[in-house]
């Protein structure tokens, strides 16, 4: 059962997206679409025909599969609600980050393949943001990792509540910013716009349609969910089912749902209270995140907890 | 041994037939090679040649020098036949000058052969002075104003220097008479070495200072080297080859003989300091001047200074490795430097210029010269796997064993500069698209090297390569013996 916990990410990720949208709508005083809207969108896209740009090569076709399967593979490594690890018991956080990187790599290639200006723009910016995010994310992860002496999520998750140390607070803040950037949300990117000059994520997907677009989007939802799960595992590692912890799968899942909901809410609030930044203001934000994470590491080394 | 070049010279004097005196010269040189080798073989068998009067004395060291001299004079003779022939047809010099060239060539060889065989230090001095006089005329072979100027400076500077050497010789003699009693002094090297420990150190010191300044001038040790670049760049190429290939070594040979006495009399420290002083200044000066030196013949001249510096350094360290290194380096330099001069000569023949600007694409124009030239450059720069590296490595080893870090530092640093200088200037000539040769040269000179000359040069290049990996046993023994003689 716990070996297949990744399915919950696969299935529930559109729901998370829906919830975020809903909360945002509420904040902005709109009714907004129902929380199951993403499922409908995906289904619709799957049913549509595809338009393939004449200039595209096989990379264009391969990209969606690679992106999706890499995210799926990554989510197979994550302990979702049970510390028993996952189907392959290799829940190494660095491995997860790099597996996600495959997806990004091919998504960017897909953006370039059609040879349009927007695709290139999207890929360029996506990679740039990734460059700015990666170090702070790693350092934030390191804080959690060194605290429990391992980069294995299972171990970290088992290590119980270490949330109350200042190092973790800082790390969490940094990680949260990183998550926002990685999931392409305001203030870094605006997921709802197709305004050519501001879009990053959408820019790369501009040529995609139908099934491929569905795959890309779904992968995107999963990635978002996956990152939330990571945050949960790294910084709120309590209430996980598995040996030692007295939680059964069901209640553990309950805890998990709560955590994810909180994170979704956080993201939604952040998104609706912030305006999107100019692209070249991002370095200051993400740089701040990096400083936070560096501080967290150093505080940890100094204080030892 | 000495007869042959004299005879050859005589022939040159008598006949007007170009072929005749050319062949006489080459044949004489060949014969000398044979004799020198047999002498070396004899020395290896342990016998030492002494003339009844004690004037002549040939031990391993002398044999070593003789072999070098003989080989080089042969090679240069072979090269001369083609090179000077071309010069003649190109009208750079007239028939008379051509004949005198060979006459003086043989006299030059004669005086140089005399040097290592002389036991009496005064005779040694006379021979060396003789080389100056003859070679000065050779340097002035082309009656151009530059060559005359070079010859003038050469003869003045070297004569001044050699005068001090003479004074030094006298003082050494005086020291001996101080030990043996008034008026009973000796000048035989053998005698002096045997009684070296009884000589008055202060006197010997003075004498050695004069000697090293005197013969050092001739050997091209900085800061008294100034004649060298001019003479080398203005002399006919084969003569430049002989000058840097053997003449410098012969002068240094004089220093070595005296150094043996000085070592025994006033301790190795003094000799070492002197050698380091001159050696270091030589390598430094040379390397700096090689950085920007468009005229490749001058470049090679400065490289000779550098190599004499290296020889002096390794001689100064002493010890089996040091001395072995310096002798081996003498040999290597005597092969590598002439080779490069020959290459330059061929280039000059084709382009009628030795300025590295304006000349390019030798590798394309004359592939053989290009390849040999590159080998030579690398060898001169002391890069493995070529022979000079071996001697320089041995020197490093000796320096390290003695812990002379500052010397090693200077040597390595200058080594980098030298490498840069050589590669920059020669590389510029060898690489690139071939620049058009001047019609003057092109008319006469076949860009193709004649078979014999080519073979000889290729042989020298191969020697550089082979001796970088393996040193033949007899040679090894000969050098070891000679080192033993110097080491005392």
């Amino acid at each position: 059962m716990t070996n297949l916990q990744f399915i919950s990410i696969l299935v529930l990720s559109p729901l998370a997206q829906g919830i975020i949208k809903k909360i945002k709508a509420q904040c902005q005083g709109r009714v907004g679409p129902g929380i199951f809207q993403p499922y409908y969108d995906l289904a619709r896209l799957f049913k549509k025909d595809m338009v393939i740009p004449r200039t595209a090569s096989w990379i264009f076709h391969a990209a969606p599969y690679v992106v999706f399967s890499s995210v799926l593979a990554a989510s197979m490594l994550v302990p979702v609600f049970s510390a028993e690890g996952s189907i392959f018991r290799t829940g190494d956080v660095i491995a997860i980050i790099y597996t996600l990187a495959i997806g990004r790599f091919f998504m960017a290639l897909g953006g370039l393949d059609a040879g349009t200006a927007f695709g290139g723009e999207g890929s360029s910016r996506e990679m740039t943001v990734a460059i700015l995010v990666e170090p702070s994310m790693m350092l934030a992860i390191f804080t959690a990792a060194v605290a429990s002496g391992s980069t294995s999520l299972a171990v970290i998750a088992r290590s119980g509540s270490v949330f109350y140390s200042p190092a973790h607070a800082l790390a969490l803040a940094a990680f949260f910013v990183a998550v926002i950037a990685e999931t392409g949300r305001v203030p870094v990117d605006n997921p709802d716009t197709h305004l050519e000059l501001t879009m990053i994520h959408e820019g790369m997907l501009l040529e995609y349609s139908g099934k491929y677009l569905a795959l890309m989007e779904w992968a995107h939802y999963m990635k978002q969910m996956l990152l939330f799960t990571l945050a949960a595992d790294l910084f709120f590692p309590f209430g996980m089912a598995g040996a030692g912890s007295g939680f059964g799968a069901a209640e553990a899942f309950g805890y998990y749902a709560v955590k994810i909901f909180m994170l979704c809410a956080g993201v939604a609030f952040a998104e609706s209270t912030r305006a999107k930044m100019r692209f070249f203001q991002l370095p200051s934000l993400l740089g701040a995140a990096f400083v936070l994470s560096a501080l967290s590491i150093i505080t940890f080394i100094m204080t030892g907890k | 041994m000495m007869i042959i070049p004299a005879a050859a010279a005589l022939i040159c004097l008598l006949t007007r037939q170009r072929r005749v005196y050319e062949y006489a010269t080459v044949a004489g040189a060949a014969a000398m090679v044979f004799i020198a080798l047999s002498i070396a073989a004899g020395v290896l068998r342990g016998l030492v040649i002494k003339s009844p009067g004690g004037m002549i004395y040939v031990d391993a060291l002398s044999a070593f020098m003789l072999v070098i001299i003989a080989l080089l004079s042969f090679v240069a003779a072979v090269y001369s036949v083609e090179y000077m022939g071309n010069e003649l047809t190109a009208g750079h010099l007239d028939k008379k000058a051509h004949r005198y060239y060979y006459l003086l060539y043989n006299l030059f060889i004669f005086t140089m052969v005399l040097i290592p065989m002389a036991n009496n230090l005064a005779i040694l001095w006379m021979a060396i002075e003789g080389t100056t006089l003859v070679s000065a005329l050779l340097v002035g072979t082309y009656r151009r104003r530059e060559s005359v100027e070079a010859a003038w400076k050469y003869i003045i500077l070297c004569t001044v220097g050699i005068t001090f050497a003479l004074l030094g010789t006298f003082i050494v003699y005086y020291a001996s008479s101080g030990a043996l009693g008034e008026g009973k002094g000796v000048l035989e090297w053998t005698a002096l070495t045997s009684m070296a420990s009884r000589l008055n150190p202060a006197t010997i010191k003075l004498g050695f200072i004069l000697i090293i300044v005197g013969y050092g001038t001739k050997a091209g040790l900085a800061p008294v080297h100034n004649w060298l670049p001019d003479a080398h760049s203005e002399a006919p190429t084969p003569i430049s080859a002989l000058l840097s290939g053997i003449l410098l070594n012969c002068a240094f040979y004089g220093v070595m003989r005296f150094a043996v006495i000085a070592r025994a009399s006033c301790g190795p420290a003094f000799v070492r300091d002197m050698m380091f002083l001159f050696g270091i200044s030589s390598v430094v000066v040379a390397s700096v001047f090689m950085l920007i030196q468009g005229n490749v013949k001058r470049l090679l001249a400065y490289s000779s200074i550098e190599h004499m510096g290296i020889i002096a350094l390794s001689f100064g360290v002493g010890g089996p490795f040091g001395l072995y290194a310096s002798l081996l380096h003498i040999l290597n330099h005597a092969i590598g430097k002439p080779l490069m001069f020959f290459v330059t000569g061929r280039i000059k023949g084709l382009y009628n210029s030795v300025e590295s600007e304006g000349i390019s694409g030798i590798l394309k124009a004359m592939p053989l010269m290009g390849v040999i030239g590159f080998i030579g450059v690398m060898a001169l720069a002391g890069a493995p796997p070529f022979s000079m590296f071996v001697s320089e490595f041995l020197m490093l080893r000796a320096l390290a064993a003695g812990g002379y870090w500052y010397v090693m530092g200077v040597f390595l640093a200058t080594g980098g500069l030298v490498f840069y200088g050589l590669l920059k200037n020669f590389g510029g000539m060898f690489l690139g698209a071939p620049s058009m040769p001047l019609p003057v040269g092109a008319a006469v000179y076949k860009s193709k090297t004649s078979f014999i000359t080519g073979t000889v040069m290729f042989g020298m290049a191969m020697a550089l390569v082979v001796m970088g990996i393996y040193i033949p046993g007899p040679l090894d023994r000969l050098i070891t013996l000679s080192a033993g003689i110097i080491g005392g």
Partner: protein, 653 residues
């Protein structure tokens, strides 16, 4: 426009056949030597023999040591490079001479790894350098490569001088030139050991291309033909790593903490600077060359960590980090060789190294594109390819730096980890650019439109390496078994990190299994291939022009250029790049109708413009002013004699 160092002429049949024969022999020789080295390592048998050069000097070689591992790497790359050359050198002007030089270069590298005493090492070392120099200038008529060659030769020669000095100090300390005797007899003061360390670090650093000694790399690698660049970048610069390991670990048996910290710091700087400069390159081979700097940095991270650990006596962790370094050495050799060959076959048919003129190559040379893509993914350390494994291990050892004793080491190692992460991200961006701009999209020039696929042997050479990229990534256990058999401190215990052959475990009880990842991805792909079919049978797809904002039709000039791709980074990191930008606009009717806009933007290479150029200028100045000493005035010269004599008389007389 730089052109590839060969141009199409039709050489005579004879030399071509001959050179081909040479390459066959080389390939066979590589296989043979590789087999020997592997056997020596696994069976742990050591051999050595000496050849007397003269009474004063002898050369000796040995097997079964650290060198065997490197010669194994060399064999892998040497083999495929030879196969590649078989087709690549077809239209060279002087194939035979080139083939011979290539052979000298190849086997002199073997000599370096096999040599067992100082003279042998120095001789083969410099032979390697000179051979590579001649290969760099093998296109003798190209001024550019001549200049690059000169720069390279001089720098590497100076490096050799430092190496020689280091060995001489060792000789002074131990009284022997044999490596074995050195490592046995070395009981000397810390100052002495540190001197040796610094000298050798500088000397070998020049060869390895550690920042700031890297400046020859981006010059020489592009100038050389690609089969040579592959060897240079794949193996030759590793000989620098070999040297550092040899001297500081094998001969001196590890050292003080600050060695490790220094190396770690240099590694971090090199990796970041290397990739930053790579990003700004449009010359595909210069780009790859800069990436070599980066990867050397990553290797050094492992080495430094290992020295730090052993100074904290944590042998197990030291083993882990060293294993990471060695593993990455192997990996980099494989994928960098692959990338250079791929770039080579692109350049070979394009006759330009400028990415801005490529584009869309994937359509006409699909196989090359595929192999190049594999290389890109591998060098970006993306699973399941080999780069990931070694970088994962490096990450592990850096994170475990928390186990060291001092605050300094903890901090610097974790920050180094961050630097590694940054490097990874930058590398990813760089290779998205490299592959995307040159292989994807529309052809940016006429040549790009009419390229031809590389010849079979070239594809074979690349294919081998591409396959290895995958295998080395999926079966790390086998590699670690080989590494653990390298006789070097702490490495013996490395195999504990690979209990199976598929899974890697780090000391921090964290584990990863690339094979499993591969499986997962395949499962995912299969699932997602089936899923839509379940949802709704097959849908047809329409081929149409891409979205062009409604203009008539998309032209190649509208797609993102390499310059544009990296423009954000150029702005973000302008402190480092110091970009110079000039925009020239020509109007037909000012200011409304623009005829043409020229946009040029280049960056200032820090170390060139602030260290090397001033140095060279100073040297030339000195030389010029020194020439006054030789003024041509005879009296002056006589004056020198007088002064010299008087001084000597006063001082010694």
């Amino acid at each position: 426009m730089e052109t590839e160092s060969t141009e199409i002429v039709s050489p005579k049949e004879g030399p071509r056949k001959l050179s081909s024969a040479f390459y066959v022999i080389y390939a066979a020789g590589c296989l043979f030597l590789g087999a020997i080295s592997l056997q020596d390592l696994l069976l742990g048998n050591k051999w050595s023999f000496a050849l007397a050069l003269s009474s004063a000097l002898s050369l000796s070689i040995r097997g079964g040591g650290l060198g065997s591992y490197f010669s194994l790497i060399l064999s892998i790359l040497g083999f495929s490079a030879s196969v590649y050359s078989f087709g690549y050198t077809r239209d060279f002007k002087v194939p035979t001479a080139f083939a011979i030089l290539f052979g000298i270069f190849l086997f002199s590298m073997y000599a370096v790894f096999f040599s067992a005493n100082v003279p042998a090492f120095l001789i083969s070392w410099e032979t390697m350098s000179l051979a590579s120099y001649f290969l760099v200038i093998s296109d003798t008529e190209n001024r550019e490569s001549a200049r690059a060659g000169l720069f390279y030769a001089v720098i590497t020669h100076v490096g050799t001088a430092f190496i020689a000095a280091a060995f001489m100090v060792l000789y002074f300390a131990t009284g022997s030139l044999e490596f074995s005797a050195m490592s046995a007899a070395l009981k000397s003061s810390d100052a002495l050991r540190s001197t040796v360390f610094v000298l050798s670090l500088i000397g070998f650093g020049t060869k390895a291309g550690i920042v700031p000694l890297h400046t020859w790399l981006p010059r020489a690698h592009p100038a050389a033909p690609s089969n040579v660049s592959a060897l240079m970048s794949g193996v030759m610069i590793k000989s620098g790593i070999y040297g550092i390991l040899l001297v500081s670990l094998d001969l001196m048996g590890g050292g003080s903490l600050w060695w490790g910290v220094t190396i770690l710091f240099l590694g971090a700087v090199s990796s970041v600077m290397g990739v930053l400069y790579a990003l700004m390159e449009h010359d595909i081979k210069r780009l790859l060359a800069y990436h070599s700097v980066e990867n050397i940095g990553i290797i050094l991270l492992g080495v430094g960590a290992s020295i730090i650990f052993s100074a904290n006596n944590l042998p197990a962790l030291a083993g882990l980090s060293l294993a990471a370094a060695l593993y990455h050495t192997l990996n980099h050799a494989v994928f960098k060789g692959l990338l250079f060959m791929g770039a080579g076959s692109a350049v070979h048919s394009m006759h330009t190294k400028n990415m801005e003129e490529m584009g869309g190559l994937i359509k006409r040379m699909p196989w090359t594109a595929l192999f190049f893509l594999v290389g890109c993914v591998a060098i970006c350390a993306l699973p399941p390819f080999n780069g990931f494994v070694s970088e994962w291990m490096t990450f592990q050892s850096l994170v475990l730096g928390i186990k060291t004793s001092t605050v300094l080491t903890k901090t610097i190692m974790l920050l180094a980890g961050a630097a590694l992460a940054l490097t990874g991200a930058l590398a990813a961006a760089c290779f998205v650019k490299a592959f995307g701009v040159s292989f994807l999209g529309l052809p940016r020039s006429r040549e790009a439109g009419e390229v031809h696929e590389a010849s079979l042997s070239m594809l074979l050479g690349m294919g081998t390496l591409a396959l290895l990229c995958l295998l080395l990534g999926v079966f790390p256990g086998y590699v670690l078994r080989v590494i653990s058999s390298v006789p070097l401190g702490g490495l013996g215990s490395v195999q504990q990190y690979a209990p199976g052959n598929l899974t890697l475990v780090s000391a921090g009880s964290s584990s990863v299994s690339p094979a499993a990842l591969l499986m997962a991805m395949l499962v995912g792909a299969a699932f997602i291939f089936v899923f839509p079919l379940l949802l709704n049978g097959r849908r047809k797809s329409v081929i149409a022009d891409p979205w062009d904002c409604g203009i008539i039709r998309l032209t190649p000039r509208m797609q993102y250029t390499a310059t544009a791709f990296t423009h954000p980074l150029r702005r973000i990191f302008k402190k480092i790049y110091k970009p110079r930008k000039d925009v020239r606009i020509e109007y037909t009717v000012k200011p409304f109708f623009v005829r043409e806009i020229e946009y040029r933007s280049e960056i200032t290479p820090l170390f060139d413009s602030y260290f090397y150029r001033p140095l060279i200028r100073a040297l030339n100045h000195t030389a010029l002013s020194a020439r006054r000493l030789q003024s041509g005035n005879l009296q002056l010269y006589l004056g020198y004699i007088l002064v010299t004599l008087v001084t000597l008389l006063v001082v010694w007389g």
